[in-house]
Symmetry: D2
Subunit: 270 residues, 4 copies
Amino acid sequence: MTGLFDGTFARGGAAQAVSDEAWFRALLDAEAALARAAAGLGLVPTTAADAVTAAAADPGGLDLATVIVRAADDGNPVPPLVRVLRDAVGERDAVAVHVGATSQDILDTALVLLARTALGAIDGDLAAAAEAAARLAAAHRDDVVMGRTLMQQALPTTFGLKAAGWLAGLDGARLRLAEVTASLPVQYGGAAGTLAASGGSGVALRTAFATELGLADTPAPWHTVRLPIADLAGVLGAVAGVVATVAVDVVLLAQTEVAEVSEGGARGGS
Amino acid sequence: MTGLFDGTFARGGAAQAVSDEAWFRALLDAEAALARAAAGLGLVPTTAADAVTAAAADPGGLDLATVIVRAADDGNPVPPLVRVLRDAVGERDAVAVHVGATSQDILDTALVLLARTALGAIDGDLAAAAEAAARLAAAHRDDVVMGRTLMQQALPTTFGLKAAGWLAGLDGARLRLAEVTASLPVQYGGAAGTLAASGGSGVALRTAFATELGLADTPAPWHTVRLPIADLAGVLGAVAGVVATVAVDVVLLAQTEVAEVSEGGARGGS
Amino acid sequence: MTGLFDGTFARGGAAQAVSDEAWFRALLDAEAALARAAAGLGLVPTTAADAVTAAAADPGGLDLATVIVRAADDGNPVPPLVRVLRDAVGERDAVAVHVGATSQDILDTALVLLARTALGAIDGDLAAAAEAAARLAAAHRDDVVMGRTLMQQALPTTFGLKAAGWLAGLDGARLRLAEVTASLPVQYGGAAGTLAASGGSGVALRTAFATELGLADTPAPWHTVRLPIADLAGVLGAVAGVVATVAVDVVLLAQTEVAEVSEGGARGGS
Amino acid sequence: MTGLFDGTFARGGAAQAVSDEAWFRALLDAEAALARAAAGLGLVPTTAADAVTAAAADPGGLDLATVIVRAADDGNPVPPLVRVLRDAVGERDAVAVHVGATSQDILDTALVLLARTALGAIDGDLAAAAEAAARLAAAHRDDVVMGRTLMQQALPTTFGLKAAGWLAGLDGARLRLAEVTASLPVQYGGAAGTLAASGGSGVALRTAFATELGLADTPAPWHTVRLPIADLAGVLGAVAGVVATVAVDVVLLAQTEVAEVSEGGARGGS
């Protein structure tokens, strides 16, 4: 059962992309990808990496209730998740779990995977809105409405031009989303970011880890320099600004006295 | 089962105070109090108000799953909750449900009830921290540690004086919490804030509604002038600032090289 | 000559209250008050305190250009200001300058003095707005306009009730300003906040310093626990919120199609 | 004479880039570029555009005091500036001033010009910091210091690796600055954004205007969709975050007990 306010206000793909289930899946995806990357470099047996991948693909077989309880004590869910994953694959294959990694490597990489999915969901919504704006711009190309300055009627314009402005904003927001999505990096540095536990293969392992997940590689860990998070904040702020601009325009145009749009579609002088 | 990140980071009374269950309880408490207030003024039969109070006290007997589903369509959970509550008490007593009210009256009043409980939980935590700071201030009154300017050692001070500074901050935060808690107001204005549906008794009903819930009365509805929300934001910011100051002090004092405090208790020169 | 954007957007008492001239005056007022407070307790000769007060009252006689240049090197204007003030009063009376104080004592106290003046200017503007709202509420008590829900016409209300809502918000903002103004505290703790340089009279000197300036006394320095700054931020946010609400209401009511108010005054059914 | 707090805290190229003088110069640069762009398209005589360029290049010959006074009344400095510029070039050449433009076209374009200069100044500072970080990374490549987790000593790392992390952050910030700088767009839409006063040449004039100033062209005016401002906010936030990270690292490393860096240079095990 969805919650009262979750169900009311936080619907759709972006909300699901950051659910508890999605977090578990992303943490497990990161661990599995790291195991495969390590196997590809010959650091662990391929059979062990396969076992980790199989265990991670079946969260139902893992004792996640214990992870949740212990996460509160560790202040971080990765240590108990690693223990549960090692138990699941058995002593022989446990060597492929969490190779040379520290908790922040897995948490940040999972965060980036969630962000990629959520940005994809947001982009889908923006694409639909942009398509609608494009249709309105074409359909109402010559429909004259009042242009306003400081909310006072100023000069005639067309509803199509207003919709074209929305389209330009939505396209601009999508372009920025695409750039940030393409630059989302893997995190991998090991404890204190030194790659000391990666047996001399740390840089190669970071590259292979990135390739496994389709994420960007980085020359250094970003555990203290949080530019990717700043990028996410920046682009989400830009998207919210564009969507709010369109929404406020629509609410203003829909006022009873103005009535240039209504819920059924644009009046737009037609 | 508590969620992964809920369970890790959002524990304790304040988290429970804003759960979905707490929201339902607060919405129902608001409706029941309004029914009793209306009965006290003779606007509805006392028996009807009693029936509403009884139904609101037993959420298990209400079809809340339907409320959740319909809340998404209405964009607001109050209309379906009112329908469910009217169904529960039956046609005769339905007159005592939502007397002269609009959705925002119930939502804002419930929000204020939740805030009061959450502020109480936060105040309990602050009181415990203040007591600990007071004990440290007394115990380490004469224990000399280095005072710092811009994180460089400057002049000797005592650990007791540091702890007394924390105590002053925590007490100051509690004082502000108490003031905001005491000023939390009921919301009651009816549609468009005119009290038009309250049959000439709107002002008296607002006062009686406030008294039922132990909230402050207001001369006018605050549905557009959101000072109580600004007060909440202000006081939570102040509390967070004080707690963060203490926390950063402790982390800095606990650094391996400084080691003036450790998890077992303050070293403080003793 | 006022600046281009200063002159355009930042006019009136609050802008002057935080000008460079006002900062110098506040820093000098703080030093003079501290000198008099110390003299009142017999810590320095009254004649020396009088000399400091006289020098501080005549900024034209002080080499403030040097203070500005050296402030950049010290990262803080108080050390060069103290040197200039000591030079101005001469060796014998220099004992009354900056008694037992650290730079932050003077900077924070001056900041609080500036804030008090600026809040007073803001309160004056709010009082004028509240009076206007009261006049509108009385004059248009019975003038019917449309009440709106989500910007759609909903139910009739009166323009007087709208204005009364503005009045309630403005009065609420003024009440909060008055509380914060009354609680603005002096800062006095000496280096590292220990009062060690105040010769055993630190607490009494803080009280006397507060009395000289009409500020609140505090049991401990607030150099690390910044609740007074949080209070300022909170109340300015609340004021801005109320003023913005009124402004948006007016802009919406003034739209060409709605035209319920115009720059000459409210139409409001009249 | 620089101001007290300006001189203390806001020094360097970025502060100058947003001074009142810089604003006037940018507004005049925008008007002059628009005149030349219009002449290039044959919309106004080249001699008139030359006269505007000459007048704009000599602010001393313009009555800017009047602009400042009138800007306060208009709420915007462009209308009085246009009048002063038209007076300066005389009736015959006034046709080349403000061709088809609205105030926001000039204000936004000037803002973008200021931003470009300010970003350049910030980039210069970042480049110097990055070079210093690169030198430190090379010099202290093998100097062992303690790596920390949650400010507790954890594992050995090298000072060179810390400095390399700073370098990665500073380079990342510079990359983002360069992208935003390259995308800064001209604003040109005329009143209500319709290009109606540009005599059918509006789109070509926007492109020519952009070329004159070395700014990006846009398919539509961005007077309501403020993505370029969101980009500026985002990149400045990212830069501030990186610089703050480095600064906090240095302050922590410079603590008396840690003493891994000092103002003279890094100790870093050397």
